[in-house]
């Protein structure tokens, strides 16, 4: 894997309250994994016992919970992980997790506790716990079975193609201003959204296309705007993200 992580953006939590506290606080946040000594631990049981504290494993009642749920959410929902992630990446990342969100997973606590320029320091970011190979495979096996949105993927009609890189980069950085919130290379672009230079490694191509076109279909309170891109524009951006992940 190239560098960080991703998808489970998840896990890279930004917990401002722990800023500067370091390992002890992180240990308190992530107690020893249940079932860590049992290679036979069932994937669903493992995920529900070890992941559900921060990640939504079941569908979120967005209507009832409203915007506040998103602001207080600690990590990305996993209830559609099977529609979103690539399994191989998931297994690898869970064993060696790296930050996907340069400033940590965005939430109200982060925005309200930052410096004058709202910058988040590395000390604010709590690492996602690393799983053993067996645990990672068990967890990934279960997570990949969570596919409530197959219909959204099928609706994209997207098949990856090789983009004209220079123009595709212009669309990403200038015409659509994706770089306001996302990075398409390390150190270049905004930090509130997940970095995208490894998006192609961690995300399924049709998920990328679907989310670009209709982020609210996946998360009604996504911080990603529904920009009304036409299918060609969506596919061009998806092609770009897949291509830069291969470089």
């Amino acid at each position: 894997m190239r560098r960080s992580i991703s998808g489970l953006y998840p896990m890279l939590l930004v917990l401002p309250a722990l800023a500067g506290v370091g390992g002890a606080a992180a240990a308190a946040l992530f107690p020893p994994l249940i079932g860590a000594d049992s290679a036979a631990a069932d994937g669903e049981v493992f995920v529900r016992q070890n992941c559900a504290g921060c990640h939504a494993v079941d569908a979120i009642d967005y209507v009832a919970l409203g915007v506040q749920e998103r602001l207080e959410r600690e990590a990305p929902p996993l209830y559609y992980a099977g529609n979103k992630y690539r399994e191989q990446w998931l297994v690898e990342w869970l064993q060696e997790p790296e930050a996907i969100h340069p400033a940590g997973y965005l939430r109200l606590e982060v925005l309200q506790s930052t410096n004058a320029d709202d910058s988040v320091t590395n000390e604010d970011i709590v690492d996602h716990p690393a799983l053993s190979e067996d645990e990672a495979e068990e967890a990934a096996d279960y997570l990949m079975s969570l596919r409530p949105h197959d219909d959204l993927l099928e609706a994209t009609g997207y098949s990856p193609a090789e983009p004209a890189m220079r123009m595709a980069m212009m669309h990403f950085r200038r015409f659509n201003a994706c770089s306001a919130c996302h990075r398409d290379e390390d150190g270049s672009g905004g930090v509130s959204g997940p970095e995208l230079y490894t998006a192609g490694e961690r995300l399924q191509p049709r998920f990328i296309a679907s989310f670009l076109a209709e982020p609210m279909a996946w998360d009604p309170y996504s911080g990603m705007p529904s920009s009304g891109l036409n299918p060609d524009a969506v596919h061009r951006l998806a092609d770009y993200l897949l291509m830069i992940s291969e470089e």
Partner: protein, 137 residues
């Protein structure tokens, strides 16, 4: 946008002073527009949450233009606490900028259109919240 507001946009393109049969259904200076209609404390509380999610990333949690992304942008996000700058923008301009994005208003393309994420009531609430940020003593 979650709710239809084509009428609103159509009206936004018309002069505020229009009267009679050509008058818009609401105007930024009138009493029936979405902006003036959203005035309750609950609305402002919700607007504060919406601002935190959709705006603070760039404009900063306190609205001063110093959000997480600001250091990496070519154009500095607008300081929503700047009374003189914000005072020169009508409610309708703010409404349309939030809804249609900066490019549609000859402003920065870095400001995305939020009409696909927010309904017209929510945008109106945000406009009112901007007035609180900039101009409330």
């Amino acid at each position: 946008m979650k709710r239809s507001w084509g009428i609103v946009l159509l009206c936004a393109a018309l002069p505020w002073t229009a009267t009679g049969a050509d008058a818009p259904e609401w105007s930024a200076t009138g009493t029936d527009n979405p902006v003036s209609a959203a005035a309750g404390a609950d609305d402002l509380e919700r607007a504060e949450s919406l601002y935190a999610l959709y705006c603070a990333q760039c404009h900063g949690s306190d609205g001063t233009g110093d959000g997480l992304n600001a250091p990496y942008m070519d154009t500095r996000p607008r300081d929503h606490t700047n009374r003189s700058e914000m005072g020169g923008r009508s409610d309708d301009e703010l409404f349309r900028t939030i809804a249609e994005g900066g490019q549609a208003m000859n402003l920065s393309v870095m400001m995305p259109p939020w009409e696909g994420s927010l309904d017209e009531d929510e945008i109106a609430e945000l406009v009112r919240y901007l007035r609180v940020l900039c101009c409330q003593e």
